[in-house]
């Protein structure tokens, strides 16, 4: 018991020392304000019912925010670049493909009747395995940006075309089911998938926090990391599997959002001003929560859902991607 307490205290003190960065405190307040506003603005009717609904949605949004932030950071670290993300490399297109294949074989009704816990477990395992199988060979050969980018785009196009091929073969009712999983939607969250993915994201967050120093070493590149005694291959496999699982955890709940991770990490890096993982994990999670929860509050209560959040994030994130790409070309 004492050991557990001691452990907890150590974690807490590490988080605490990372929080000495003033910008992180600002970010934390922003995230907190977004959360409070999300829960409180325009609260009407049966309070218990409405609040319950909002809390579930809030937890889901926060979970997606965290999953996207940490999977992007870890992916960028093991590929030692700051532009590519799991989504740009086609991982959430892969997830959509898995869903489409499921609908194809089970039919829309069969798909909807699947047990959510088993389904999510199977998805996580499959995504982890595919992430390792597809990306480890690329990673082992090269971390050259251009080749990775090319590989990712080719894979993404492949997964998307396969999905659209399959959705042309199924009947219109099933197609409607496919459509609902292929587009980002922050309003209707598949909340029955929440518990398993919530646990997964929490575990992933703890694992990443524990590995923050090893991840710092990973940033120095494969050879230097091995020289410093990091079992590169082992960690790369484990971390890729973790990324696959986290992509499943975020895509299952809200659908694919290609540029969210990129936007979040790029913003966080500029705000915290370091690439140390202790600070980047906290910073990116806070930015991500602010963006999703705050954005959703703003869009639904101020702009009355004139623009879906997903589209807005893709728009801003896409511009950020181009900006990063061009500024790197000039450098």
């Amino acid at each position: 018991m004492l050991l557990v307490q001691l452990r907890f205290w150590l974690y807490f003190s590490a988080v605490h020392s990372a929080m000495r960065n003033v910008n992180l405190i600002l970010l934390a307040s922003l995230a907190l304000v977004s959360i409070v506003l999300f829960l409180s603005v325009n609260l009407r009717g049966n309070l218990q019912f409405v609040l319950e609904l909002r809390v579930v949605k809030l937890v889901a949004l926060v979970q997606v925010a965290v999953a996207v932030a940490i999977s992007t950071i870890v992916f960028q670290t093991i590929t030692t670049n700051r532009i590519l993300t799991p989504s740009i490399m086609g991982m959430d297109a892969l997830f959509v493909l898995i869903q489409t294949v499921l609908v194809f074989f089970l039919g829309g009704l069969g798909f909807a009747a699947l047990n959510s816990t088993y389904k999510s477990l199977a998805e996580v395992i499959l995504m982890s395995a595919l992430a390792c199988g597809l990306f480890l060979p690329i990673l082992r050969h090269t971390t050259a940006m251009t080749l990775m980018l090319l590989g990712g785009i080719v894979l993404g196009v492949l997964f998307r075309s396969l999905s659209s091929l399959i959705s042309r073969l199924i009947d219109p009712n099933d197609f409607a089911v496919v459509q609902s999983v292929s587009y980002a939607d922050f309003n209707t969250i598949e909340s029955n998938f929440l518990p398993p993915f919530l646990i997964l994201t929490l575990v992933a967050l703890l694992v990443c926090w524990k590995l923050r120093h090893v991840l710092d070493v990973f940033l120095l590149g494969r050879e230097t990391a091995i020289g410093l005694g990091v079992n590169w291959e082992l960690y790369a496999v484990g971390l890729l599997a973790l990324i696959g699982a986290l992509v499943a955890a975020s895509t299952a709940l809200v659908g694919p959002v290609t540029f969210l991770g990129l936007l979040v990490v790029a913003l966080a890096e500029r705000i915290v001003g370091t690439q140390r993982h202790s600070q980047m994990f906290i910073g990116a999670c806070l930015v991500s929560i602010t963006l999703l929860v705050g954005g959703q509050t703003l869009l639904s209560h101020v702009f009355y859902n004139a623009v879906p959040l997903g589209i807005l994030i893709e728009f801003v994130g896409g511009i950020a991607f181009l900006y990063l790409l061009f500024s790197r070309m000039r450098a």
């Binding site: 670049n81 070493v217 050879e223 230097t224 091995i226 020289g227 079992n231 370091t274």
Partner: protein, 252 residues
């Protein structure tokens, strides 16, 4: 001592090292020389477990490199790979601090801070320790990387062409620093060098390679001779003894 037994390495079907047998004794500076593509860097990378062996085995003191835990090896040998770009924005001091990672795995203690301080002093980096790596000149960066390698505090230091990008002043300075490290701290240094005369001036032993094989291996005086240099580089190189060192006139 590093023992290399019947080691072969091939990369995507091409044989780079063929059946190498070599013993590198403890202490002093050993230089690996040879023309481009001789396999010097590959041999160094194989010793440092950066590359898988196709055949054979490498033992470091009592540890077999292929099977020993990577973290244990990192406390006995440090590698400075050939000019790799350091991603991200790091300060010189932070980079050198990473050299202590094998000892503390994340939580640096007082002895780690002392080791970093000593490395910064030794490699003349104190005046630029707060600068970001990506704002340094090529030579400053090489020194920072060498300092990181040194701060790891290992018995063996492997350096792959550390003189790349260094001007004559800092090239000499780095070799003299390494000499001090070998003489006073009792470290064993294995270094890939392109400049024959730096090898002659500072190394105790020389291993000469050509086309994935060892051509000669021995004390500097006995390897830097016109005959051996001809079999390594393929042309007549005159060797004159200047200040007690065999200086090759390879540019003539």
């Amino acid at each position: 001592m590093i023992r290399i037994d019947n080691v072969s390495v091939s990369l995507s079907g091409t044989s780079i090292l063929e059946d190498i047998n070599l013993e590198l004794p403890r202490g002093g500076i050993t230089a690996l020389i040879g023309p481009n593509g001789a396999g010097k860097s590959t041999l160094l990378s194989a010793i440092a477990r950066l590359l898988p062996l196709t055949a054979g085995s490498i033992t470091l003191d009592t540890l077999e490199v292929a099977h020993a835990p990577s973290s244990e090896l990192a406390r006995r040998m440090a590698i400075m790979p050939q000019d790799n770009v350091v991603a991200g924005r790091l300060r010189v001091k932070e980079l050198v601090q990473f050299g202590r990672f094998p000892h503390h795995r994340g939580r640096a203690g007082p002895e780690d801070h002392n080791a970093v301080r000593e490395a910064l002093q030794l490699f003349d980096l104190e005046s630029i320790e707060e600068r970001f790596i990506d704002t340094l000149s090529g030579g400053q960066r090489q020194r920072a990387r060498a300092a990181m390698c040194y701060s790891q505090g290992t018995d063996y230091l492997l350096l792959d062409e550390p003189l790349n990008n260094l001007d004559i002043f800092y090239a000499r300075e780095l070799m003299r620093t390494l000499r001090r490290v070998a003489d006073h701290a009792g470290r064993t240094i294995i270094i890939v060098l392109h400049d024959l005369n730096h090898a002659s001036a500072h190394a105790d032993r020389i291993v000469a390679m050509r086309e994935g094989k060892i051509v000669a291996d021995g004390p500097t005086q006995s390897v830097i001779t016109p005959n051996i240099l001809k079999s390594v580089f393929g042309y007549e190189i005159d060797v004159k003894t200047i200040a007690g060192k065999p200086i090759s006139l390879h540019f003539l």
